[in-house]
Amino acid sequence: MLNLVMVQFMNFLLRGPLIDPFELEAGTRIPQTQRLSDNATLPTLLDGTRLHIGVPVAICAAVGAYLILWRTPTGFRLRAVGYSPEAARAAGISVKRNITLAMTLSGSLGGIAGAILVFGSEGQRMVTDGSAAGFTGSAGFNGIVAALFGGLHPLWTIPSAMLFGALLTGATQLQRVLQVPAALAVALNGIIVIFVISSTPVRGWLQRSLADSGLFNRSSDTAGMD
């Protein structure tokens, strides 16, 4: 619900204190900020493309998150609290403090994401499209799904996020290139998500039934099976 609150706050800012002074003069009052200075543009990595420095920043953030969570005592405590708050409390770990810390870290990553979106955008300014997600295009929401897809492991969110990025960009491209309605691509995205997420158990069954059938009778196949 805080999303709803923040979008309205952003609308308020874009229409009031942050509005481009030019808009006020011209009277068009488009809710957008001034164009950011050229220093603020994210440098592109490959000429001719729009691949900007935000991508390696994101990857570094993912690696950083992995290192913090798995290689530091703080991260260990965070994970302990998530896994079993009662056990963590019994071990003397402060549940409240760690949850707050996790939310803070999580929020800062969200902030970085927002900054990259605006500074790397085509328009070099913050504009709202009047929708319920502001200018983000539901990136936050898709991010949750991408995280879950990656099994909540920071390193696996990298390919997971790439997949989602491609699926989402692909939908608009499909409409343009093949005249396929974007809605069809959206529906297909949903089917893809459902199938992928349903496939893990199915694969488990397949492996088990294949192993049971004795066709691939090597001991290493059945080792470590649930």
């Binding site: 619900m1 709803l4 309205q8 997420i197 158990p201």
Partner: protein, 309 residues
């Protein structure tokens, strides 16, 4: 400000609040049943969109409102079957599979609407049905008892759901499967079957919610719900997984929205304050959540797939 406190305006605001709250209440009650059994369904919005479209299309083609409501219910049931299979039998991660259903519902309803209907065409809306005697109560009667049948159904389902959960064996099964599926399983309760039925109930009610939304409005548009389903899921937490709490949440949300609209119409909220005022429903609900947050007890097995050890 004085104009707001005239009785006719207050009555109109209350009526508006109840109308707004109806789809939230239906969807949220259904989600409560599902969550009590340990299943999180984030696809509510998608189910609502699909059922809303098919209900709308039914009225457009046949003119029969009650058939449309039935169609909405059936669409919910079908989506429930799908979600049940994915969640209970395939043990897929509930959060993601729910979102998958949401995306699917969003896209499919949009696609079907564009292909089968195109330009929005208005249809008959649910008529208001006055409850005899009660609707004659001055003012209160007008607000509460001159609403449409789906609203009455929604509020009736509050005690029905509460009784189902607390006083029936099946309700007991639901709750035990949601809190401690291992123990329930060892006592002979079929975790899979209980959860499956709970999912069917939940999604059918989401289907009714979609029908209620579209038939109250008399028109469909792509993404008609605008995130209503997700608010409905949040309201389950707000209501501490109890039907009466959920009803409170839906009404709070409806009332704040209705009041903001009324104050804007009256000029109490100036146009410049419009954006900040739009925050009100969400902010107030969050504040209320903070105030009433006791040791809220979530179903312990919520979102955890059940595997026998």
């Amino acid at each position: 400000m004085g104009e707001f406190f005239t009785l006719s305006v207050l009555v109109a605001t209350a009526a508006s609040a109840i109308r707004l709250a109806t789809p939230y209440l239906l969807a949220s009650l259904g989600e409560t049943v599902g969550q009590r059994s340990g299943v999180l369904n984030l696809g509510v919005d998608g189910v609502m969109l699909l059922s809303a479209f098919f209900s709308y299309w039914t009225v457009l083609e046949t003119g029969n409102l009650w058939l449309a409501v039935l169609v909405g219910l059936v669409v919910g049931l079908v989506m429930g079957l799908l979600y049940g299979v994915i969640t209970v039998f395939l043990n897929a991660t509930q959060g993601i599979s729910g979102i998958g259903i949401f995306i699917f519902g969003l896209g499919l309803s949009d696609l079907l609407f564009r292909q089968l209907v195109g330009t929005p065409k208005p249809v008959r809306r649910l008529p208001n049905v006055d409850i005899p005697l009660l609707s004659d109560i001055p003012h209160l009667g007008e607000a509460l008892f001159q609403r449409n049948l789906l609203t009455y159904l929604a509020f009736l389902l509050v005690p029905v759901t509460a009784l189902l959960l607390t006083r029936t064996t099946f309700g007991l099964n639901i709750r035990s499967v949601g809190d401690n599926p291992q123990a329930a399983d060892s006592l002979g309760v079929s975790v899979e079957r209980t959860r499956f039925v709970a999912i069917l109930i939940g999604n059918s009610m989401a289907g009714l919610a979609g029908a209620a939304l579209v038939l109250q409005l008399g028109i469909f548009q792509p993404n008609l719900t605008q995130g209503l389903g997700f608010i409905a899921v949040a309201l389950v937490y707000f209501g501490a997984w109890r039907p009466i709490g959920v009803m409170g949440g839906a009404l709070l949300y409806g009332f704040v929205n209705a009041t903001v609209l009324q104050w804007k119409a009256l000029g109490i909220i100036p146009v410049s304050g419009s954006d900040l005022a739009n925050m009100a429903p969400a902010v107030l609900t969050i504040l209320a959540l903070i105030v009433v947050a006791r040791r809220v007890h979530a179903p312990s097995a919520l979102t955890k797939p059940f595997t026998r050890h």
